[in-house]
């Protein structure tokens, strides 16, 4: 009796999981399939290459090489903006995270400062969009990388502060205390001892911030028009220019999706704590 129910139960579990995985993977699969279909097969319902339709790589070739200048431009912009804003936020997060992990502030208690950073995470982007647009316009920085970099680095700062504080807090104090006895200054201890010890968490935070910046739309859309357009802004505009050429659209979408998804696979262990800013340990 127990053995039979357990076989049935196992089957039910697998079926359940496969249904959900199919639901979440179907749109991705459809993009991949559409991106290798010939125009004449665009509306065919087949998903099996060679069997149901004749696959082709010509859309990939043209979108990346022959007429791919705009795609390449947007990919480069997203990379520059993502790397720069993630660097700024990570460095600032190391400073604040370390201070909050190792020092007890008196006037405003650590927990108040932490709550303040946490509440910034929930701020609606649209409520700072108008003042920021006006400020960037007044400063003459519309359509520059620097405007988007500054905004992304500030907006995603709560993640790096709280997650890195958590990482620093998990370090045993003894090593740092020993260094302090030897006369090392707090900055030396931070950069020479503590930072190397939490290097994996720092890399994870950096990747997380890079993905957030890569995927962010509202600010990038408002602040850029040509020179500094990022991938989401570029593909959002594709619909109006290329209409229902879904194979072209699919290639561009996959170009926008692949980099952050691949990077995320490397930081699986940190995703839960990263996305909840350390509230839940993964």
């Amino acid at each position: 009796m127990p053995r039979r129910t357990s076989i049935l139960k196992t089957a039910a579990i697998y079926i359940g999981i496969l249904i959900f995985v199919a639901f979440f993977f179907f749109p991705i699969l459809w993009m991949i399939v559409t991106s290798i279909k010939l125009p004449r097969d665009m509306f065919s319902l087949g998903v099996l290459p060679f069997i149901q339709f004749e696959p082709t790589l010509k859309h990939w070739h043209s979108e990346l090489v022959t007429v791919g200048a705009e795609n390449r431009h947007a990919l480069i912009n997203s990379t520059i903006i993502g790397l720069s804003s993630a660097t700024i936020s990570t460095v600032l997060g190391i400073l604040a995270g370390y201070a909050l992990a190792r020092y007890e502030f008196k006037k405003w208690k650590n927990i108040d400062i932490i709550t303040w950073f946490l509440s910034l995470r929930f701020l609606p982007a649209i409520s700072v969009a108008i003042p920021f647009y006006i400020l960037v316009k007044t400063a003459g920085l519309l359509d520059t990388h620097i405007a988007v970099i500054i905004l992304h680095s500030a907006f995603f700062l709560p993640y790096s502060v709280l997650v890195l504080r958590d990482a620093f807090k998990s370090l045993p104090r003894e090593i740092e205390e020993a260094a302090m006895v030897d006369g090392a200054s707090p900055s030396t201890i931070l950069w020479r001892i503590a930072v190397p010890l939490i290097a994996p968490a720092i890399v994870a935070v950096f990747i997380l911030l890079f993905s957030f910046s890569w995927n962010e739309f509202l600010f990038a859309f408002l602040l850029t028009s040509k020179v500094a357009v990022t991938m989401p802004v570029h593909i959002a505009g594709s619909v109006t220019t290329i209409g229902v050429l879904f194979y072209t659209l699919s290639v561009r979408q996959l170009l926008a999706i692949i980099p952050p998804v691949i990077l995320a696979l490397f930081i699986q262990r940190y995703i839960v704590s990263g996305l909840t800013l350390g509230a839940i340990k993964g």
Binding site: K9, Y103, S119, L123, V128, A154, A236, P260, Q268
Partner: protein, 293 residues
């Protein structure tokens, strides 16, 4: 560190903290204050001067049917999406908490939506829900069912937004619940099995109560973030359409600010929205705060 000795008032730790705090203050809080100030003016782009109009913008908003429509749509989408995401996330987490083959692979697949740009999700919707010849309506037709007006029907449109929000965020709920379940000590389950408890009893009396903190956290994140939803109504529904059927708060404010260029009025709208979001956040943040202590 920070022993009992008398310390100077300003330490290097103060400096470490001050730099990021000032960065966030000047770039996030200052714009908010600026926006609050503009909200009492009739500033419109292209008009040379503007003046103080007191509460005019706020009063106008409360008399604008589009504000109330937008509020209704925002809460409808939130109320539709968040419970579904939490329940599906729980189910998947319970399924995946069993010792199964390919668990890592399945988990990786479920990560994709979380790291996919919301604009790409909106465009995915455009392709798979294309009404004349897209795959979903195509398969429905093969099954002898009626095609669905995913984007062109004003009654269907908010639910289409809900579907894509569920697609995007259920994996987030799943991951957190899975982490929560894996943190529950195995002995609880072993004891329950020895006592002959059924699967549902185990879920109700062990899993669910032990998931209290993950549940509160997930609810806070999903509630606030769904209220702020922008890309799917804006891109997939072409600016909150059809008509104003999916004109959520973010889209409504965006249009006032960047299509009408009424910076004064749009700032007032965004202040009202900010207050709504902050009130909901406050309810949760007091509970969540303790996890960080």
């Amino acid at each position: 560190m920070g022993g009992r000795v008398v310390k100077p008032k300003f330490t290097v730790y103060h400096l470490f903290l001050a730099i990021p705090v000032l960065y966030a203050l000047s770039l996030v809080i200052f714009p908010l204050v600026y926006s609050a100030a503009i909200s009492f003016t009739n500033w419109k782009l292209g008009i040379p001067t503007y003046e103080f109009v007191g509460l005019r913008n706020y009063i106008d908003e409360f008399h604008d049917y589009r504000f109330w429509n937008s509020l209704r749509v925002t809460f409808l989408i939130t109320a539709g999406a968040v419970p579904v995401e939490i329940i599906l996330g729980l189910i998947i987490a319970v399924l995946m908490s069993h010792q199964i083959k390919l668990r890592g692979f399945f988990r990786s697949i479920l990560l994709i939506p979380l790291f996919t740009s919301p604009v790409a999700i909106a465009l995915m919707g455009e392709v798979v829900m294309y009404e004349a010849g897209g795959p979903i309506n195509g398969y429905l037709k093969l099954l002898g069912l009626q095609p669905i007006s995913w984007r062109s029907s004003a009654t269907m449109a908010p639910w289409t937004v809900v579907i894509w929000d569920v697609w995007e965020w259920t994996p987030f709920c799943f991951l957190i619940f899975l982490a929560g379940i894996q943190a529950i000590p195995r002995v609880y389950y072993e004891a329950a099995e020895i006592d002959g408890a059924s699967g549902f009893q185990i879920f109700k009396s062990i899993t669910l109560p032990m998931l209290k903190y993950p549940l509160i956290t997930v609810t806070m994140f999903r509630l606030v973030d769904t209220l702020k939803i922008f890309e799917i109504p804006f891109v997939l529904m072409a600016g909150g359409g059809p008509g104003i059927a999916t004109e959520v708060q973010s889209v409504y404010i965006y249009k006032a600010g960047f299509r009408g260029f009424q910076f004064g009025a749009a700032s007032a709208y965004s202040m009202v929205f900010l207050i709504i979001v902050m009130v909901i956040m406050m309810i949760f943040i007091r509970r969540v705060r303790s996890y960080y202590a």
